[in-house]
Symmetry: C2
Subunit: 380 residues, 2 copies
Amino acid sequence: MEDVIIFGATGSIGKNALDIIRSNKKIFNVKALCTNANIAVLKKQVDEFNPKYVCVADPVQADKFKDVLKKGVKFFYGLSGLKEFCSLESDISVMAISGIAAMEPLLAHIPHTKRIALANKEAIITGGKFIFNKAKKYKTEILPVDSEINALYQLFKSDGKVERVYLTASGGALFDYSKPRVAKITAKQVLSHPTWKMGRRITVDSATLVNKGFEVVETNRFFNIEYKNIHVVIHRESVVHAMCEYADNTIFACMYPPDMRLPIGYALFYPQARMTVKGIDFSKRFSLSFQPVSFEQFPLLELVIKAGSEDNNKLTVLNAADEIVIDYFLKGKVEFKSITKILFDIYNMCPAYMLKSVSDVYKWDTWGRGKTMELLDKLC
Amino acid sequence: MEDVIIFGATGSIGKNALDIIRSNKKIFNVKALCTNANIAVLKKQVDEFNPKYVCVADPVQADKFKDVLKKGVKFFYGLSGLKEFCSLESDISVMAISGIAAMEPLLAHIPHTKRIALANKEAIITGGKFIFNKAKKYKTEILPVDSEINALYQLFKSDGKVERVYLTASGGALFDYSKPRVAKITAKQVLSHPTWKMGRRITVDSATLVNKGFEVVETNRFFNIEYKNIHVVIHRESVVHAMCEYADNTIFACMYPPDMRLPIGYALFYPQARMTVKGIDFSKRFSLSFQPVSFEQFPLLELVIKAGSEDNNKLTVLNAADEIVIDYFLKGKVEFKSITKILFDIYNMCPAYMLKSVSDVYKWDTWGRGKTMELLDKLC
C-alpha cells in the first residue's frame, strides 16, 4: 500500500486523484487530506476515504469543521497547522494547492515524501530552482501532472536526443472571438473552456495563453530545454498534449483524450502504467488540427516567455499580478482587457533583480501583489 | 567510414539511400551496388559513387553493362554472380530488392554485414522466422525501413509496455472511389498515390490495402505483438506513421512528412539521429484525420491478416499470387477487381501446411505462382 497525501483535495485535481484512488483501494491508502476552505466537499471525502490526518488552512472554516470531525482523526488548522501537516510522511503526495501559495508547503513537504505529483506551476515558474535543488537533496521525485509537461516527461524517457519540443494550446474559450468582443467578455464566457474542465484561474489563464507561457517556462525548468527550442502550437482538440522533435525531424506526439485523470494516474501509478480513463476511440472518424499561434492575438504569451527567459524576479511579479487581476475580473470589478494591460504595466515598472533565495521569491510576490492592487484601484 | 552495400540500388528506396549518402560522404562509403536490370540508372550511380563492386542480376542487361564499366570495378552478373556478390562484407547493407526475390540474397548476406536496413516486406511475411533466426545467430541487426514498421521500431525503444499498436494507412489512390468505379480502374489511376511516391507493385498493394495487411504481419513478426492488438487506421495525410498505446491508454504517435528518406536515414545513421529531410511545418495550419478502416471496402486486408495469423504456407502463396496478378493488371491483361478475386480463390484452394524451412517457402511460392497463372489464363 502506498500512503498518499493530497494537498488541495477539494479542487479539480484533488477530486480526480481521489477518483483514481477510489478504483484502486488495494494500491493506495489516503493518509491525509488538506483543503484551504471547502469544508463541505472535504467532509464527504473524509467520510469516504477515512484519512488519519486532515487539515483546513482557512481558520474560519477550520473552526466550523472541528465539530463535524470523526473521532480518531488528527486535525490541523490554520497556517501553523498546515506547516505541521507538511511534516507527515508519505509515499506519494499530490500537490494541488493553486497559485504561489503552494510554494511553502511544497518546500516544507519535500523531505517527507518519496514522490510529489505536482499539479502546481506557479511554484516552479517562480522558485523552480530552489524546489529542484531541495528535491535533489532529499532524492524526492517530482512528477509533473500538468498534461503538457507530463506528456514531455513521458516522451523524454525515449532514448533519442530531443532537439525541440512543441506544447499544444487549445486556444481557450475566446480563440475564435474578435478583438473588440474579447475586450468586453464576461467571466462566465471565459469559464466555458472548450476541452478541459479546470479551476477558475487556470481557465482564464488558458484564454490569455498566460498558462501556456507558464508551461513554456516549466518546460525549460523541468527539462533544461532552451527557450528557442520550445514552441507553442494551437491545437483546438486537446488530444495531442505535447510533441518532441528529434535531430532527424521525427516527432513523437503524446496523445490521449483530454481528461486530467490520465496524467494524475500516471504520477500515482508510476513507473507502472494503469488504465484510469478510456483511450482515443479510433472506431469513429476524427481530425486533429494544428495552426501557428499569433503573439499579436496573445501578447501575454510572448510577455510571459520573455519574463521567463530573463530568469529574474519579473515572472514572480507577473504571476502575482495575474492572480490578483484575474480575481478582480472574476468578481466583475475590471474588464477582461485589463488583464493584459496590468501585466504589461507591471512588467515595465518592475526593476530586474536576480532571485537568490526563496525569500526573494516571496518578497517579489508581495511587491507584485501590492503594485497590482495600486494599479487596479486606479482602474476601478 | 561505414561501408555500404545497396541491393536494389536503382529503385526508389535505393535512390533515396544514395541521396542521403550523397550529402554524407564523410560518413558513408558506397562499397557495392546491385540492380536487377536498370543499367541506365546504375551507370550514373557508378560514375558518381565509384563503388568497388557492381552487380547486375539480369544476364541480358549484364551483358550490355560489361562494356561500359570502368576499369578496376569488380563486376558480378547473373544469379550466380548475385550469389557471390552477397558474400561481400559491409557495415550497413540496404536490402531494397522487391518481392520474394529478396529472400535468397538476404539470407546469404546476413553473415557478412553488421546491419541490414530492410526495405522488403515479402521476405519477412513469408520467411520471417528463418531470417530472424539467422540474424540472431550472426548478431546482425535488422532495422525496418518501411515507414510504419520503422515508426514502431522507434516507438518501442521507449520504456513503456506497449499494449496495442496502430498502423496508419493512407487508403491509397482509390479510397474515395465507388465500388463499381474501382472495379474498372486503370493501372495509371492506381499508380497516382496521394501521398507516397513508391514502386509500382507497392502502390497497387496500397490501393488494395494488401500492403497494410503485410505490415500487420511484419508488426507481429518484428515485435511479437499479438494480432488482436494490431489495428489499422485510415489516415489520409500519411504524417502519422504508426502509434503505440500503453497500458494507461496514452498513445505515442510517430510523425514526419511522407518522405522515405527519413526512415532510410534512420537506418543508415542509427543509433545517431541526423537530419535528412525537412520536418513538419508548424508555421502553417494543417489537419490530421483518422477514420476506421472497413473490411467490406478492403476485403484483402482482412484476408492477408487472417492468412498471417494462421502462420502457415498461405501467406507465402497469397504473396506469390498478388505479385503475379498485379503484374497482369499493370500490363492491362486483367481488371483491377481480379486482384481480389484471384487472391480469395487461391487462398481457398491452397491446402494448409506449416513452413519448416526456407525451402518450404520457395516451394509454396512456386506453387502459388503456378496456380495463379492457371487461374489467370482462364480469366484472360
